[in-house]
């Protein structure tokens, strides 16, 4: 690799290339599918002339290369097409959906990370005891359970006293702002907890392993030799380095976290991007599916980029070794 190009620029270029690849893949996957939009409309008794007109209208009679360029042009203008299902622009649909996804995903992730760090510390503190085995066992079992199954179990355990479907009460009209916010929070509680449970397992396992690793480093011995208490050693020296790999892991597990959100939103009918994907599958709503896949990929790629840059900012060792 050219060392003259700054690291940040190289990473930005890489992220752009990944997104372009996703766009191309997206384009080809749907174009190479058997049949085209003029079959999909299933117009009863469509004459060859009408079919031809439709193909012309959608640009399907042009070369693949032309269609690809046209697609790129549309994307550059933020146009993701029109949903088959509700006739609204896909971009508008997805924009609303992403906001909804954040309502359950961000608190869920935060909860998972906090509990994972807490139980990870507990596990290492009581390393090798029943407490350690119990908390590691819980994490492993949670990690081994399918997200949709956890959702169904939660629904069956809480049905009756917590809302299990939708993002707000469909019968509550003209609510005030606060009442609406409370209603949404009430509905978000179960999906967010479910997401936290699903994400928790792998976080806890990595936090624990990472803490064990960093506690064996030489600088921990130095810190101990300085006469710091165990807690001070952990808080100031071990935990800080141990959480670094967790940031990287967060980037890498983003793919499985997305899988979790699709399944959980489908199970709780939470109107986010995951439910948009699940519904688009059922309705064969290709523009929505295509748009949602693209948006999810872009979000994942950008988050990964942010995590990488953050890692560099947080860990001076990476910078030093790169410069050397």
């Amino acid at each position: 690799m050219p060392t003259g190009v700054p690291y940040v620029a190289r990473r930005l270029l890489g992220a752009a290339a990944t997104i372009l690849l996703a766009v191309t893949l997206n384009f080809l996957l749907f174009r190479l599918a058997p049949g085209d939009a003029s079959d999909l409309t299933h117009v009863p008794g469509a004459s060859p002339a009408l079919r031809h007109a439709l193909r012309h209208e959608f640009g399907l009679d042009q070369s693949l290369w032309h269609q690809y360029l046209a697609y790129l042009g549309q994307l550059a203008h933020g146009n993701l097409g029109v949903s088959f299902a509700n006739r609204l622009p896909v971009a508008d649909n997805l924009w609303t959906a992403i906001g909804q996804t954040c309502i359950i995903a961000l608190p869920g992730l935060l909860l998972a990370v906090v509990i994972a760090v807490a139980t990870g510390l507990l596990s290492v503190w009581r390393h090798g005891t029943a407490v350690d085995h119990a908390s590691r066992g819980t994490a492993l079992v949670l990690y081994a359970l399918p997200a949709q199954w956890v959702a169904i179990v939660l629904i069956s355990l809480t049905s009756g006293w917590l809302p299990t479907a939708g993002a707000s009460d469909p019968f509550a009209v003209e609510q005030s702002g606060l009442a609406h916010a409370l209603d949404v929070a009430h509905h978000a509680l179960l999906p967010a907890v479910c997401y936290a449970l699903v994400a928790y397992g792998q976080f806890m396992i990595v936090v624990r392993a990472s803490l064990l690793q960093s506690l064996s480093e030489d600088y921990i011995l130095t810190a101990r030799a300085k006469g710091l208490s165990s807690w001070q050693v952990v808080r100031r020296h071990a935990l800080r380095t141990a959480l670094l790999p967790v940031t990287t892991l967060f980037g890498l597990t983003l793919g499985s976290l997305v899988a979790g959100i699709v399944l959980i939103e489908a199970a709780f009918s939470w109107p986010g991007i995951g439910l948009a994907i699940a519904n688009a599958v059922g309705a064969r709503d290709y523009p929505m599916l295509q748009g949602a896949f693209l948006v999810v990929t872009v979000v994942v790629v950008l988050t990964n980029l942010a995590v990488d840059l953050l890692y560099r900012a947080l860990d001076p060792r990476v910078r030093v070794s790169r410069r050397a």
Binding site: L140, Q213, A259, T297
Partner: protein
């Protein structure tokens, strides 16, 4: 008495499930498409795990469903390992431009969210079990490609490989006879670990209705229970058993996979800590983390 090893426990459990998958319908008490009782009947002597929304025996479905779930997961894992191992070994052994290009492709597939891409592909292809196998396999190969590449990079420089190369052995011969045997354990470990991921994706695709409707697998059992509102009717027996089957197989795969990795010595060993605090008891002894 000696404590059974994690490897032994995991392998035994996996073997049991494989037997269930092989014999399947033969050892199931009732047929998979046979109505043998009322809708959502609770567990009883004649139906130990109750009946589902169509009055089918849940125990029979669990045993019969093992076949589809296990076959899909194992086949998908083979596809993934075939792709991943080829790419990893070729990239690691060739180095240079080939390595660069293959690893960029791997990086791309590592980042792209797998489930949405699987959903897109299987929606376009239409629901079929073979599509599920291919789609899962085609998207789960990245971890093994990276692990194997790293391992092959070190094997390539070992003196016996340099020696056979100096003796004029061809590249294919070196890879097949001298490099592959060294990474066999790693391939096996990755294969088992990939099965556990594949089984998740099988159930996820089934949940989203991307598996044909007449298939019986643990994934479709959970999906059916959800769609027929087993949760709100209190019929826990319709969805708890398949979920537990999946969890047991995933845990067993992880036990076996990490035990093999440990034996191959590729995992970092954590230090042994004392049992009552953060103090390090013995910095040299290894521990199975």
């Amino acid at each position: 008495m000696r404590r059974p090893s994690a490897f032994g426990v995991g392998l035994t459990v996996l073997a049991l499930f494989c037997v269930a998958a092989l014999l399947g319908p033969a050892i199931a008490p009732y047929g998979l498409h046979e109505q043998v009782g009322g809708v959502f009947q609770p567990p009883s002597w004649s139906h130990p795990l109750g009946t589902d929304d169509a009055g089918r025996d849940v125990l029979s479905l669990c045993i019969g469903g093992a076949r589809v779930s296990m076959v899909v997961a194992v086949a998908a894992s083979f596809v993934a390992i075939a792709i991943g191992a080829s790419i990893g070994v070729i990239a690691g052994y060739s180095g240079g431009l080939v390595d660069g290009v293959l690893m960029r492709i791997t990086d791309y597939f590592l980042v792209v969210p797998a489930l949405p891409l699987m959903i897109v592909i299987s929606t376009v292809w239409g629901p079929s079990l073979w599509h599920v196998v291919l789609v899962i396999g085609a998207l789960l190969w990245t971890p093994s490609a990276r692990v194997l590449r790293a391992e092959v990079l070190t094997v390539r420089e070992r003196s016996y490989v340099l020696r056979v190369r100096a003796m004029g052995a061809s590249r294919t011969r070196i890879i097949v006879h001298h490099v592959l045997p060294q990474v066999r354990a790693l391939i096996a470990a990755n294969c088992v670990l990939t099965i556990s991921v594949a089984i998740f994706f099988e159930s996820a695709l089934a949940f989203l209705g991307l598996e044909s409707a007449d298939t019986v697998s643990w994934g479709t059992m959970i999906a059916d229970a959800f769609r027929r509102a087993a949760a709100s009717s209190g019929a826990w027996w319709a969805f708890v058993p398949p979920g537990i089957c999946i969890a047991i197989v995933v845990l067993a795969c992880n036990l076996v996979g990490s035990a093999v990795e440990d034996r191959a010595g590729t995992r970092l060993r954590a230090p042994r800590l004392s049992r009552t605090g953060f103090a390090v008891a013995d910095r040299t002894a290894g521990e199975d983390a």
